[in-house]
Amino acid sequence: MQISMTINGTDVTREIEPRVLLVHFIRDDLRLTGTHWGCDTTNCGTCVVLMDGQPVKSCTVLAAMADGHTITTVEGLANGATLDPVQQGFMEEHGLQCGFCTPGMMLTARALLDHNPHPEPLEIREAISGQICRCTGYATIVRSIQWAAAHPAGANAETSPSESTEHEVRA
């Protein structure tokens, strides 16, 4: 069957078998290997992508079900050469160790901040509770997302004193 979708702002059309899972379509057909394929059982969340702005586990969505929808993968987070504040936060606060869970974590963080620009630490933990970091680096992941919340325009933009104070207190 033929499917079409918008991935990271680009329209793609491909011929696929209906049984192809979205994660494999993204990795194997589109060669966007930033989306990782982990447990294959809807548990680990490393395959998270945004479907119409909402995080979904792409090992449990058929590519056919994404036909006509808008998908964002980790490759679509940055705006040209400018990293998304979430990506900057993961750099600033050491939000990754081995990096395997990072793409999914960052996409969930992006969706969380779009929905709730000033999440409490507990709300961040709740948002990423369907994702596993086997390095157990959750504390720095939470801090990375807090950094992004405190710097909505990223590192290059001027940050108001209140925002940086808030960040220091929470961290």
Partner: protein
């Protein structure tokens, strides 16, 4: 790598179209909603439909509507929508309690109430919630609509009264004045199925006594409400001693199996403890909302 066996895929454009597709493709066709139960089963080849009928475009079934004395929930309403609804939290806190602990937030973006009820997993939370709230399932087929009580809808583990050529389209929950509810689950980790869970709905009369009560249990081998507690609780003022008695009855009425989530005696203990907790919470909430109303009226 887990890949489903080959199948043909078709997207339904309306409820009538979905029913026509089910009729055309017959017993080897399956409806997929959120897909978070069916797709894992297909990946493990526990399910091998020839045709998959995708109903995710049926936005006509994605609604929450307070309609007089009834809350109407469209079958395609996602878990996230239920969790975020103020009407649901106000009218049926048991649903919000349960939704908070169903799978994880990302799975809740896809999973639907209709899919959960039709999957009828014995450890599924919304089946218990709907039993406790005396929900009615609206099922549509070629011959029209029929309304089923949960007792008639839910036939047992993985089995419902929805025929192959029918579709669950709506869940209706009666709104009762003076009523409140609660749900609590014990799980090994976020996103896991329940080791055990309990839900309760309570209506308090003007004098503070219990005029209606329902208690249900999840994952402990009971496909109905714990009707045994009604005789003990109805007409009584809610007290800790009563909750203890109800908990004991609940632990005796269930029939859990030992598995990797725990031995039988632990699950009976949870049935007891969680029954007490949800009754306590439901009574506290009902009393609080009654005093709110009194304040407003006064």
């Amino acid at each position: 790598m887990q890949i489903p066996a080959p199948f043909d895929y078709v997207r339904a454009s309306s409820v009538d179209n979905a029913l026509a597709l089910l009729d055309r493709h017959g017993p080897e066709s399956r409806v997929v909603a959120g897909g978070h139960s069916l797709l894992p089963m297909m990946k493990l080849r526990l399910a091998r439909p020839d045709w998959l009928i995708d109903i995710n475009d049926l936005f006509e079934l994605d609604y929450l509507l307070v309609d007089g004395p009834v809350l109407r929930i469209g079958a395609m309403t996602r878990h996230t929508t239920l969790l975020e609804s103020d009407d649901v939290r106000r009218l049926f806190p048991i649903i919000s309690d349960a939704e908070r602990v169903i799978a994880d937030p990302i799975v809740r973006n896809r999973g639907t109430i209709g899919g959960s009820l039709c999957q009828a997993d014995p450890a599924e939370d919304l089946s218990t919630v709907c039993h406790v709230l005396e929900a009615v399932a609206v099922v549509r087929g070629p011959a029209g609509e029929r309304m089923l009580s949960m007792a008639d809808f839910h036939r047992g583990p993985y089995e419902t009264a929805v025929a192959q050529n029918e579709l669950l389209i709506e869940v209706r929950i009666p709104i009762r004045t003076g009523s409140a509810s609660a749900y609590e689950k014990v799980e090994r980790r976020v996103g896991d199925w329940a080791v055990a869970a309990a839900g309760a709905s309570v209506t308090l009369a003007a004098d503070g006594t219990i005029s209606q009560v329902a208690v249900g249990l999840t994952a402990v081998g009971l496909d109905r409400n714990v009707t045994e507690v009604e005789a003990v609780l109805i007409g009584q003022a809610p007290t800790e001693a009563l909750f203890v008695e109800a908990g004991l009855l609940a632990s005796r009425s269930c029939d859990p199996l030992a598995d990797q989530r725990g031995p039988v005696d632990y699950k009976r203990h949870l049935a007891d403890e969680l029954t007490r907790r949800v009754l306590r919470a439901a009574c506290r909430r009902a009393a609080a909302s009654a005093s709110d109303t009194t304040t407003q009226e006064g």
